[in-house]
């Protein structure tokens, strides 16, 4: 079983945390810190498994030496899976790869900032890969398709109630210097009323 999935960057700043066993908040943070400490001091050319040192706090936190950290380091990010002995080590290694590639497909050339600003979306993608600490789906196309369907559903439902908020944010997010380039007369006609308050 997968106990926890942690993503943090090269400085130990968490980018995604998902525990499949309950830990209090401070404990979670401690686990992240300890994991980062263990993983970050390893060279890039060593193996991707880190085993329990019986006395190391992280393994006693998570539940003994039966646990392993399996991780991959991509550019600025560490993807760490904490698993027990019932998981295949190499399998999890492949799973991390599948997850990252799925992220890459969903975000089109994913980078750390995507993970930061779309934290909720990353969680939704992860939910289609791992469920309750067990591997759910490894077929990337299937994962991407389901996530897209869900996002579409959320969007369509936004409907009228969400429209004003979307309009405001659209304006706010507009990159003013670029507007002239993209301008299009039809657009202006439509958007003028909503711009008037500014």
């Amino acid at each position: 079983m997968i106990k926890a999935i942690l993503i943090f960057n090269n400085h130990g700043k968490p980018r995604l945390i998902r525990f499949y066993q309950y830990f209090a908040e401070d404990m979670q943070q401690q686990i992240i810190r300890e994991t980062f400490h263990l993983v970050s001091k390893r060279d890039d050319n060593v193996c991707n498994f880190l085993e329990g040192e019986v006395f190391h706090p992280i393994f006693s936190l998570i539940g003994g030496s039966d646990y392993k950290l399996i991780y991959r380091h991509y550019a600025t990010l560490y993807f760490v899976f904490c698993v027990d002995s019932s998981e295949s080590e190499l399998g999890i290694l492949d799973l991390i790869q599948v997850f990252v590639e799925t992220l890459d497909k969903c975000f089109e050339n994913v980078c750390e900032l995507d993970l930061i600003f779309h934290m909720d979306k990353v969680h939704y993608i992860l939910q289609e890969v791992v469920m309750g600490g067990m591997v759910l789906e490894t077929n990337m196309n299937e994962i991407v398709a389901q996530v897209e369907l869900q996002n579409r559903m959320e969007k369509s439902e936004g409907g009228l109630s969400a429209a004003p908020a979307r309009a405001v944010s659209a304006v706010k997010n507009m990159n003013l210097p670029e507007i002239p380039r993209n301008i299009n007369i039809g657009d202006i006609n439509i958007k003028v009323p909503s711009l008037s308050p500014f």
Binding site: N9, H11, G12, R15, L16, R18, Y22, E25, D26, Q28, Q29, D43, D44, N45, V46, C47, F49, E51, F55, Y74, A75, T76, L90, L93, D94, L95, Q97, V98, E101, L103, D104, C106, F107, E108, V110, C111, E112, L113, I116, F117, H118, M119, D120, H123, Y124, Q127, M131, G132, M134, V135, L136, T138, N139, E148, Q150, N151, E154, A165, N173, N175
Partner: protein, 862 residues
């Protein structure tokens, strides 16, 4: 397929420029995590990207059309990231949290889901977020998908199954499980599988069972995993799912099939009856597996040229359980395993994963011998692989089969030992475990050499484990005692700080039994002590030996080792250094003080110096040390006549006394040594028992527990000083002789013996000494020794002075307990002084006739 690209770890990362944003933690460039390698190949230098630039890039590309941006969340993240200091960040988050709370209080205004998303981000950063729990419950009950979605996510992140709030969502989950939208159903399933408590699971199990038979494979695969969670929580619900699990095997969808295999594995592991039932499904599983192996390329499931390795691995694991100790099932899968083992391409991780599972399955079931050879060969090939992951995996699996196929693993010993020198600590750890398992009587010398080298270079976290592994191996296979002692001493000198507590008594025990090596050992230890006094355990053993065998050290003759010429002052200096060193632990000081004291009977000139050293510690701040010093002082002053006897050399210790294990379990070391026994055997108590001893001392007046130890057995390193006090304190006449047999007659001193059998095993022996000479006999002491299996307890003697001309006598009662009913033998040594001359004599009483009363012992003088 991206996986077919070169592995990420072999690719050099692009050159980073330093971060411009103030957040210390930002180098988050826009480097795609997924496209690491061709970027590097193009040699592009990544310029750091500001948040705004990233945003622009994203909107240009239109990614956000797929990923609907949650604008409020992103705004907050941007603000938090703009914080220049930790303190500023905290301030911002406090403000944001206040806003979020306010939003929650306002109730439904369409903003709630955004607020919860913000809260989850704050939670990830480690700030308290429990106040959002109720909001999750409310959002889950909402009718809108977007709110439900974030609500369920929040529940999984913030709620604990033990909390009341989680009970509140049971009903929502139940409703959502029958929702018309598969995505709402899926949210409920996901949440249940993640945090469903036993109670929830019981309530919802029938719903899940219903969903297992759904037509929608998306729901079905989630339901299977949910069922697994339910069985883990409530094992007796397993039967409910067994029939549907069986029928799921006909499924074509890989996701569902994968879930079904996990479910069946779980069921089989929990219930042997179910296991038997599913053995019948082996042919089906073999068929599925065959389909995967022989199937033509399908882009859907292909990973690095292997068709769905995840599913293959799961099936192989299930086969392992089904075929374990079952011939029929094993026969059914033999061919398949052979096929997988020979045809799988192991050049990529995915292939290796499958091969590795195949090997483990082959080794675990009743497979053909040819197949087993093939399996071990595959592992051997893995071991030579350049990829450390594969090497690590192969050692993990060799570890699993080392018990059953020892010789097969032994063939790879050289490679494994080489892995000890690997720079990767995970590989090292595996190699260490395996090397320890491979030590045997044949290769002990060469293996130990490697292990000792490893010990001196290994990372600190492995040192303790290595040391205890070496001790265990040495104990099992040591070719000679000297080698054994040398090995342990070597470990103590290299890693003395990392050995377990029981190492010291174990080594001391070993040294006492190797009587021919006493001289060698004491010389060696003295040298080690002079060189280094920082390794506590080594210093303790050294002190103990110097105390015990100080006379041999001073004699300066030794055959086994070039003796060092040391003077009494040298030895005392060394001990004093230990006593005064700030590096010494209280226990070590105790050892040193006792050793100093013991030397007082083994040296001739410097007794006064010892006296002064001991008296200094009479006011030591450490209670234990002070107590010892005070007692030793008393021994010098009040009981000087007994000093020689009290400080006698230790008898050989019994291996089976408590605490004498190299113990892998901690329970054993924590266990308090049984005091009466340890006192009798003079087992040097560990610091852990100090308190116990002190308590014993304080309670000695009213506990019958406290034995009066034989003077011969006074623990030399004893922390159980209580015994000494007892010994000195209870000077009273304990018994009156009835009939006597004379066993010794010399210099006017005669010793009579009377034995009295009380039960089958207990014998009371009374020794009565009288003096017919013209002068008083002073400093009279008796010591007794019996065979190992007999327990001996000496009561306090009635005195130590025998008046002249038969005007009085000294009696001493000895209780013998002979549980094994061996033939009794006893040696009695007496020492006394007559007009200033010391005499010492030993007699041996060879047989106590079985007719107990007034027995006539046969005596042989020594």
């Amino acid at each position: 397929m991206l996986l077919q690209r070169k592995d990420i770890r072999t690719v050099k990362h692009p050159v980073w420029l330093p971060a411009v944003t103030s957040e210390v933690l930002t180098v988050e460039e826009r480097t795609g995590i997924g496209e690491w390698n061709y970027r590097a190949a193009e040699g592009k230098t990544m310029s750091p990207e500001s948040d705004a630039a990233w945003k622009r890039r994203r909107s240009e590309r239109g990614t956000d059309t797929i990923m609907t941006p949650s604008v409020r969340l992103q705004e907050m993240i941007r603000v938090i990231r703009s914080a220049r200091t930790q303190c500023e960040e905290r301030g911002i988050i406090q403000r944001e949290c206040a806003d979020i709370r306010a939003q929650f209080r306002q109730g439904d205004n369409g903003e709630r889901s955004h607020s919860l998303a913000k809260l989850l981000y704050v939670h990830m950063l480690g700030y308290p977020a429990h106040f959002g729990q109720m909001e999750c419950v409310r959002l889950i009950a909402s009718t809108r998908y977007s709110e439900k979605r974030i609500g369920y996510l929040g529940a999984m992140m913030l709620l604990d199954e033990k909390q009341d709030a989680s009970l509140l969502i049971t009903n929502s989950i139940k409703n959502d499980l029958s929702h018309s939208s598969q995505f709402v159903q899926s949210l409920a399933l996901c949440t249940l599988a993640c945090m469903g408590s036993a109670e929830m699971c019981r309530d919802l199990a029938p719903e899940i069972e219903r969903l297992l038979r759904a037509s929608n494979s998306y729901i079905k695969k989630k339901a299977t995993l949910c069922a697994v969670h339910i069985i883990r929580k409530v094992p007796e619900l397993g039967e409910l799912f067994t029939p549907s699990a069986r029928s799921l095997l006909c499924e074509k969808n890989h996701g569902v099939l994968h879930g079904a295999i996990v479910l069946i594995t779980e069921l089989c592991e929990r219930n042997p009856d179910t296991l038997g039932q599913f053995r019948k499904a082996v042919p089906e599983l073999v068929q599925i597996m065959k389909g995967l192996v022989t199937s033509s390329y399908s882009p859907e499931h292909n990973v690095a040229g292997i068709s769905d390795p995840f599913l293959q691995v799961r099936i192989l694991r299930l086969l392992r359980i089904l075929g374990h100790k079952n011939d029929t099932a094993s026969d059914a899968m033999n061919d398949l395993l052979a096929q997988v083992a020979t045809n799988t391409d192991s050049s990529k991780t995915a292939g290796s994963a499958v091969l590795y599972e195949t090997v483990l399955t082959i080794m675990d079931i009743n497979s053909e011998s040819g197949l087993r050879v093939l399996a071990v060969n595959i592992l051997g090939r893995f071991l030579l692989n350049n990829d450390r992951n594969i090497r690590y995996i192969s050692m993990t699996s060799l570890q699993k089969i080392v018990q059953t196929d020892h010789n097969a693993v032994q063939r790879h010993r050289g490679t494994i030992v080489d892995c000890l020198k690997d720079q990767d600590s995970s590989v090292k750890r595996r190699a260490l475990e395996l090397s320890l398992a491979l030590v045997s009587a044949v290769n002990i010398r060469s293996m130990m050499k490697e292990l000792l080298i490893f010990l001196s270079t290994c990372p600190p976290e492995l040192r303790s484990h290595t040391a205890s592994g070496i001790f265990n191996a040495a104990e099992r296979y040591s070719p000679s005692k000297r080698w054994h002692i040398d090995t342990i001493l070597h470990v103590l000198t290299t890693a003395g700080g990392d050995v377990r507590d029981e190492t010291v008594p174990n080594l001391i025990q070993l040294i006492t039994t190797a009587s021919e090596l006493h001289c060698y050992t004491v010389h060696k230890l003295y040298r080690a002590l002079v060189k280094d006094i920082s390794q506590q355990s080594l210093v303790q053993v050294a002190c103990w030996c110097i105390g015990e065998y100080g006379d041999m050290l001073l004699k300066g003759e030794c055959e086994e080792i070039t003796p060092v010429q040391v003077t009494e002052d040298d030895v005392l200096d060394a001990l004093k250094t230990v006593l005064q060193s700030h590096m010494s632990s209280p226990a070590t000081r105790g050892f040193a003080l006792t050793a100093t004291m013991k030397l007082s009977t083994r040296i001739t000139e410097n007794v006064d110096r010892i006296r002064s050293i001991v008296s200094i510690y009479g006011s030591c701040i450490d209670l234990e040390l002070q107590q010892r010093a005070v007692e030793y002082n008393a021994l010098f002053k009040k009981y000087d006549h007994m000093r020689a006897a009290v400080l006698e050399r230790m008898p050989v210790m019994d291996k089976n006394s408590p605490g004498h294990t190299n113990g892998d379990t901690f329970a054993e070391t924590i266990k308090e040594p049984d005091l009466p026994k340890s006192a009798e055997e003079g087992f040097p108590s560990e610091p852990a028992s100090q308190v116990y001893d002190l308590l014993g001392l304080l309670g000695a007046t009213d506990t019958p527990l406290q034995p009066s130890p034989a003077p011969i057995c006074t623990p030399p390193t004893s922390t159980s000083s209580a015994d000494i006090l007892d010994l000195l304190g209870e000077l009273e006449l304990t018994s009156v002789p009835k009939s006597t047999v004379t066993v010794y007659e010399k210099n006017g001193v005669s010793l009579k013996l009377q034995c009295d059998k009380q039960t089958e095993t207990d014998v009371t022996v009374t020794l009565i000494a009288s003096n017919s000479s013209q002068s008083d006999i002073t400093n009279f002491t008796l010591q007794a020794a019996v065979p190992k299996s007999v327990q001996l307890q000496m009561k306090a003697p009635s005195g130590n002075v025998i008046p002249a001309q038969g005007l009085g006598e000294v009696t001493q009662t000895v209780l013998l307990n002979n549980p094994n009913k061996v033939s009794l033998k006893m040696r009695v040594r007496m020492s006394y002084s007559n007009q200033g001359t010391m005499f010492q004599d030993t007699v041996q009483i060879d047989s106590f006739p079985s007719t107990a009363w007034n027995c006539q012992p046969s005596i042989s003088p020594l």
